[in-house]
C-alpha cells in the first residue's frame, strides 16, 4: 500500500484512512451514530440530524474559548459530553476571577500583579480567551510587549473581539507599523461589536492607514462606536455631521452628539457645546461647559469664558461655579 495515513490526535475513531478500504460491518454499526451523514453510503444511519453532542472535546473547547461565564454555563448544561468537555474552561473562569481579584486588590486581597498574571496564565492554559486577553494586558503594563502580542494573537485566532482589538492596536503602535494587519483585526473586532475597535477602525479609514481612505465608512463606524458609548467617537461623529464628511450636513445631529460627548467629559466637546449654547443665548449653561472645558485643559476656552463671564451678574456667576463643581460625567464606555 502506498497511501500514507495520519491519525487524528484527539480521538482514535477519527481516523483519516483505515488500512482496509471498506469499514467492516461491526465497525460500521458502532460508529454509525457518530458518523451519521459523513459516510452515508457505507453505513445505515437512523438519524437525519448530525450528532452535535458527539463533537470532539478539543473542537468544543475551541468553540467555547471566547465565552463568558453565563454562556459557558449554558453550554455546559446542554448535555453530559459538553459538560465534560467544558470542565477545563469552567475552571479557567474561576482562575480568571481570581486573577481579577489580585489585579484590582478586591475582596480582602492586596493588589498583586504577579499573582494576577499567574492566575491569568493558568486560565489561558485551560483555553479561555478572556484569561488570555487579561494576561496580555498585564504583560503590556509591565512592558513585555512580545508576550502580550503572542497572547492577543492566540485570543484573536479563537474569535475573541477584545483580543482582536488589542492585537490590531498593538500592530498600529508596533515598530515598524503594520497597518494592513491592524485594520484586518480591527475590522473583525468591529464586526464582533467591540466599541473601541470600531473607533480605531474608523480612524484608520478616515486617515487612509492600511486601507483606502473612505470617509463614508469611517463616519459609519464613528456612529456605531458613538452609539456604543465611546466618547471620542461621539465627538468625531459630531464633526462629521458639521463638516459633511462622510455624512450629510446636519446641525441637529451634530449638536446632539456634541452635547452627548460634552456630558461625558470630552474637553473639546465641552468647549464646542459651550460655544453653541452661548450663541443661542443660554449664558448660564454655556458658562458651565466653558468652565468644564477650561478645567479639562482647553486653554482656548478660558478666553471665551472670561468674555462671557462679563455678561453675567455676580449671583449668576456663583451659581454657574456651583453647578460646575457639582457636575459629574455621565457613564460611557470610554
Amino acid at each position: 500500500m502506498n497511501q500514507k495515513t495520519l491519525l487524528d490526535r484527539s480521538d482514535a475513531s477519527w481516523f483519516i484512512a483505515f488500512p482496509f478500504s471498506k469499514p467492516d460491518g461491526r465497525d460500521a454499526k458502532t460508529k454509525s451514530s457518530r458518523w451519521s451523514k459523513v459516510s452515508s453510503e457505507s453505513s445505515s444511519s437512523p438519524t437525519n440530524y448530525p450528532d452535535f453532542s458527539a463533537l470532539p472535546f478539543d473542537i468544543l473547547t475551541k468553540i467555547a474559548a471566547p465565552f463568558n461565564f453565563p454562556n459557558l454555563l449554558a453550554a455546559s448544561l446542554v448535555c453530559r459530553s459538553w459538560g465534560d468537555a467544558l470542565r477545563a474552561l469552567r475552571e479557567a473562569m474561576v482562575l480568571l476571577r481570581q486573577g481579577k481579584q489580585f489585579k484590582h486588590g478586591r475582596g480582602g486581597v492586596g493588589r498583586n500583579l504577579e499573582k494576577a498574571l499567574v492566575s491569568f496564565l493558568k486560565g489561558s492554559a485551560r483555553g479561555s480567551t478572556l484569561a488570555m486577553v487579561d494576561a496580555g494586558l498585564v504583560y503590556w503594563e509591565r512592558g513585555q510587549k512580545e508576550e502580550a502580542i503572542a497572547l492577543y494573537q492566540k485570543a484573536a485566532a479563537l474569535g475573541d473581539a477584545a483580543g482582536q482589538c488589542n492585537l490590531g492596536i498593538s500592530y498600529l503602535h508596533a515598530q515598524p507599523q503594520n497597518h494592513k494587519e491592524a485594520v484586518k483585526w480591527l475590522h473583525q473586532a468591529s464586526i464582533g461589536g467591540h466599541v473601541r475597535a470600531q473607533y480605531q477602525l474608523a480612524l484608520c479609514l478616515h486617515q487612509g492607514l492600511g486601507v483606502e481612505q473612505n470617509l463614508q465608512e469611517a463616519a459609519r463606524w464613528y456612529l456605531k462606536a458613538a452609539e456604543g458609548g465611546y466618547v471620542r467617537a461621539m465627538y468625531n461623529a459630531s464633526l462629521c455631521y458639521t463638516f459633511g464628511e462622510g455624512l450629510s450636513h446636519s446641525r441637529r445631529q451634530a449638536r446632539k452628539w456634541m452635547k452627548r460627548a460634552a456630558d461625558r467629559g470630552h474637553g473639546k466637546a465641552q468647549f464646542e457645546h459651550g460655544l453653541a449654547l452661548f450663541s443661542e443665548g443660554e449664558l448660564l449653561k454655556a458658562i458651565v461647559y466653558l468652565e468644564l472645558a477650561t478645567r479639562s485643559g482647553e486653554t482656548a476656552a478660558t478666553h471665551v469664558k472670561n468674555a462671557v463671564l462679563q455678561q453675567l451678574s455676580a449671583t449668576s456667576r456663583d451659581r454657574a461655579l456651583l453647578l460646575t463643581d457639582n457636575w459629574r460625567a455621565l457613564p460611557s464606555s470610554r
Binding site: T5, W14, V38, I63, G107
Partner: protein, 246 residues
Amino acid sequence: MGSTSTKIKLRTSDQKVFEVEKAVAVQSQTIKYIYENGCPDSVIHVHSVSGDILSKILDYCKKHVNSAAGKEDISPEELYEWDANFVKVDQNTLFDLILAANCLKIESLLDLTCQTVANMIKGKRPEEIRTTFNIKNDYTIEAEEAVRRENKWAFDMLGGVGTMVIEELADDTMSKCVTNTKSRVCVIAANQIVMMRSISKLANKKSIDVYKQPQNPTTPRIKESVKQRNVGTGFIELFFHFKCKM
C-alpha cells in the same frame, strides 16, 4: 509541467476523485503531510470526507488561495462576506464541515466554522441550545445540579464581597493571610479546587485539624491546620499549614 500547475488527486469516502492544484490542496496540513511524505503521483485517500463536503472545502481553499495570491481582485471585506455566505448551510453540512476541517487540519476553515457554531450558542439557554442542535438532554437532575453548584459557589465565592483564595498547595507549606471574618477560603491543589471553608466557622475555633477524604483517587489528601488570631474588629489573621498527600 511546471510546479504552478502540479495537480493532486484526492479520493473521497464515496469513491469520488477530485483533481486539484497543489497550492489549493495543501491548504490542508494533512494532505500536505501525506503529499510530502509519500509518492507524489498516487491518489490521496480522504476516507472521512464525502464528495459533496470535499467539493465545498475545495471551493473554500481555492477562494482563499486566489485572494491571497492576488489572482482574484477581492478586498478583505468582500472575502469576509464570502466566508459568511459560505457557512450559511444546513446543519448537516455545517457539522460535516467542522469535522472535515478538523481532520484535514485546515485552520482557517475550522476557525470559521467554530465561530459560526459559537454564534449559534451565545446568548441562549440550555433548552434553546438543545433545540437548535437537536441534542438530547442526558443529564440526571443530580448531575445537572452538581454542575450548577460547582460553579455557583466558585462564583459567589470569588465574586462576592470579602472572599479570598489561597492556592498553590504544595506539601508541607505554610501560608498566612489577613482577611475579614465574612470571607471564605478556597484551596486549589494539583490544579483542582479541592475545598472551601467558611472563615466565620473557622473563627470560632482556636485551631482545626481536618483530613479531607478524597472523592476520587486523584484528589490529594490534605491535612490542614488553621490557627487564627484576632487583629482588630472583624478581621482575623490565619495561619494555614498544609500537608498534602497525593
